[in-house]
């Protein structure tokens, strides 16, 4: 199969949907002439024109509000927030408006918008350009949250997101944009709420998503080679809906669960997943839950410091080894 980068896979999904559905428009800062900060929308201005690929002012809250209003009037906008850190400026429109309208206005109209945004560190961009804030949005009823880990899923999940009638926060990852992997041709969707077994294993279950899937698989391979420990890795793909059935099934079999998430540890994604594991599979657990997450400090620029703050394959491997030998 041909290989494509994560960024190009996303771009391909946008093209497929824009060709198929003229109601799809793109809104965001520097997505048109500049081609997007991470070049996901590169060339789309020339291909689809300025009416459908619009550079907005630097107004994150209003970018999402524009998308919501346009969606209520029959379009299916895809908005881009240049860095996930900037989504703080748009939280009101996402959480109080787009996410609530269907419920709050009595189920009258859906708000079919996608908000794409790159998260994650590892590039030395520092405290305001490196965060993974998806937990904020798991904490906000009415939103779906997707976090693809591979180019193939980036394409398939984005196509699902654009066809979903609900607001979707689509969390991309900056370090993954350049990653090449096999991506099927043509139109296909990856359904929301169906986790993927990224690696089979019998001794413990690593539950993760986005860039940490790849890191966890590398750590698991090393564990197998060095210690003969067999770790399963589950890629959640979407955080809302959350496929706890797949997680529960695996944890029930292995009896051990490590959760890996790049976001801040306290009240983060891992905390929620961990609690749900306790609710669903407590009797199967042979060891306490473990988690490897970002430290609860702003993400520093300097490489040596950033490596301490963000989860790494070696931290994952160490935690997995300790858990397997508990």
């Amino acid at each position: 199969m041909r290989k494509l980068s994560y960024a190009k896979a996303l771009r391909e999904a946008l093209c497929i949907e824009m060709d198929r559905d003229e109601r799809v428009i793109l809104l965001g800062e520097d997505i048109a002439a500049y081609g997007g900060s991470f070049k996901v929308t590169d060339g789309l201005l020339a291909q689809y024109g300025a009416e459908r690929v619009r550079d907005t002012p630097i107004s994150e809250n209003t970018i999402v509000g524009l998308a919501t209003g346009a969606a209520l009037m029959g379009l299916r906008p895809v908005a881009e927030i240049m860095f996930m850190d900037f989504i703080g400026l748009a939280v009101d429109q996402i959480v109080n408006h787009a996410a609530k309208f269907h419920y709050m206005y009595g189920g009258q109209k859906a708000v079919p918008i996608v908000v794409r945004t790159p998260a994650g560190g590892g590039r030395g961009y520092g405290p305001t350009h490196s965060q993974s804030l998806e937990a904020w949005f798991m904490h906000s009823p009415g939103l779906k949250v997707a976090c693809p880990a591979t180019p193939a899923d980036a394409k398939g999940l984005l196509l699902s997101a654009m066809r979903d009638d609900n607001p979707v926060l689509f969390v991309e990852n900056k370090l993954l944009y350049g990653v090449q992997d096999e991506v099927p041709e043509g139109d296909y969707t990856v359904p929301f709420g169906q986790a993927r077994i990224a690696r089979e294993g019998t001794d413990l279950t690593i539950v993760t998503y986005s860039r940490m899937v790849g890191e966890s698989v590398v750590a698991a391979d090393a564990l197998e080679q060095q210690h003969g420990i067999s770790a399963a890795v589950i890629d959640l793909r979407t955080l809302c809906p959350l496929d706890m059935d797949t997680v529960t099934e695996s944890v029930s079999a292995t009896g051990r669960c490590l959760i890996v998430a790049e976001d801040y540890q306290t009240a983060g994604v891992a905390a929620e997943i961990g609690f749900q594991v306790i609710e669903r599979a407590f009797e199967y657990l042979d060891a306490p839950l473990r988690r490897v997450c970002g430290l609860d400090v702003p993400i520093p620029c300097a490489r040596g410091l950033e490596e301490i703050v963000l989860p790494t394959r070696s931290r994952i491997a160490t935690a997995a080894f300790e858990l397997a030998t508990f």
């Binding site: 428009i25 009416e51 907005t56 002012p57 107004s59 809250n61 209003t62 999402v64 509000g65 524009l66 998308a67 919501t68 209003g69 346009a70 969606a71 209520l72 009037m73 029959g74 379009l75 906008p77 009101d92 429109q93 109080n96 408006h97 309208f101 269907h102 419920y103 709050m104 206005y105 009595g106 189920g107 009258q108 109209k109 859906a110 079919p112 009823p141 009415g142 779906k144 009638d165 609900n166």
Partner: protein
């Protein structure tokens, strides 16, 4: 159902002006009755009455077509009724009934009626402005020939969303009219304490769009200014920032009975400028309305609202399942 929202070219016929009077009386009676119902403990939660501000709601909506859109604020009952909303369903919403516009989930501040072009009242100050602007973007993009009106209070001017929305609306020449109902206070804060300029409309200059101040107590004046702004928007020339100088009679919400931030003298001054009084005065002076007719119109409005109250009271409560349904489409 009488509705202000229909195509109309200037000047308004006498019948049309009577229709607008009807709507103003309906909106007035609705919010007055609401305050009574709160007092009797029949309605709980909160609500913001628009009594005193009916001319801006009705005059602006009169300049719109049925296919045009309105985005409202937390003080939205008059806007909804002026756009052709159903008093029964609005009242039922306030009673928390299943027959309410939002099935009882929204209450006073969260009501939408998309079928009549009402994009929603909104509990977040200035929250509706970006959304209204997006609706105007869709209208322009789809070549719909429709216009959006975004209502805002003077307090919304302090929000970033005010600047963001008008800025992009103006930059893209979107078919939208921003209507500021300046009632001199945001809750208990006088505009003078938080704004360097007296007229919100002055801010339009910064966006390169027309700004206009209108006597918000005179429905004829509001209608005529709004018509110009709507016409401009519809013909592709972009937004206008229209400021209606007005006043609310009740406290900010039902929890503000004392109104310590303003004087009774000031209130009395504004009551002399009551929008219903201004309109009936004009109509009477022009021989278009008799005292008997006026009384009959007031009774008609009161009866209509009583029917709405009965409808609401007789309506079923939400089912327990309604608490968690409709989260996703």
């Amino acid at each position: 159902m009488i509705s202000a929202a229909r195509t109309q070219s200037e000047p308004m016929s006498p019948e049309r002006r009577i229709d607008l009077l009807r709507l103003m009386l309906l909106a007035r009676r609705f919010d007055e009755r609401l305050m009574e119902l709160f007092g009797q403990g029949l309605i709980t939660g909160t609500a913001h009455a628009a009594c005193g501000q009916e001319a801006s709601a009705v005059g602006v909506c009169a300049a719109l077509r049925g296919t045009d859109q309105v985005a409202s604020t937390h003080r939205g009952h008059a806007h909804l009724l002026a756009k052709g909303g159903c008093p029964d369903r609005l009242m039922a919403e306030l009673f928390g009934k299943r027959t309410g516009y939002s099935k009882g989930r929204g209450g006073s501040q969260h009501v939408a009626a998309y079928e009549i072009g009402f994009l929603g009242s909104n509990g977040i100050t200035a929250g509706g402005l970006p959304i209204a602007t997006g609706a105007a973007l869709a209208a322009q993009h789809r070549g719909l020939d429709s216009v959006v009106v975004a209502f805002l209070g003077d307090g919304a001017v302090g929000q970033g969303a005010f600047h963001e929305a008008i800025n992009v609306g103006a930059a893209w020449k979107l078919p939208i009219v921003y209507v500021c109902e300046n009632n001199l206070y945001a809750m208990g804060t006088a505009v003078a304490n938080t704004s360097p300029v007296t007229d919100v409309a002055d801010r339009a200059a910064g966006y390169g769009i027309p700004g206009a101040v209108v006597d918000g107590q005179d429905v004829d004046a509001v209608y005529s200014s709004a018509s110009k702004a709507v016409e401009r928007a519809r013909s592709g020339d972009g937004p206008t920032l229209l400021e209606c100088k007005t006043y609310r009679y009740f406290g900010h919400s039902k929890g503000d009975a004392e109104r310590p931030y303003r004087s009774r003298d000031e209130e009395r001054w504004w009551e002399q400028r009551d929008p219903i009084r201004v309109l009936t005065g004009h109509l009477r002076g022009q021989g278009l309305l008799t005292e008997e007719q006026e009384t009959a119109l007031r009774e008609e409005a009161a009866e209509r609202i009583e029917r709405a109250v009965r409808f609401a009271m007789d309506s079923p409560k939400p089912e327990p399942a309604d608490a968690t349904s409709d989260l996703f489409a």
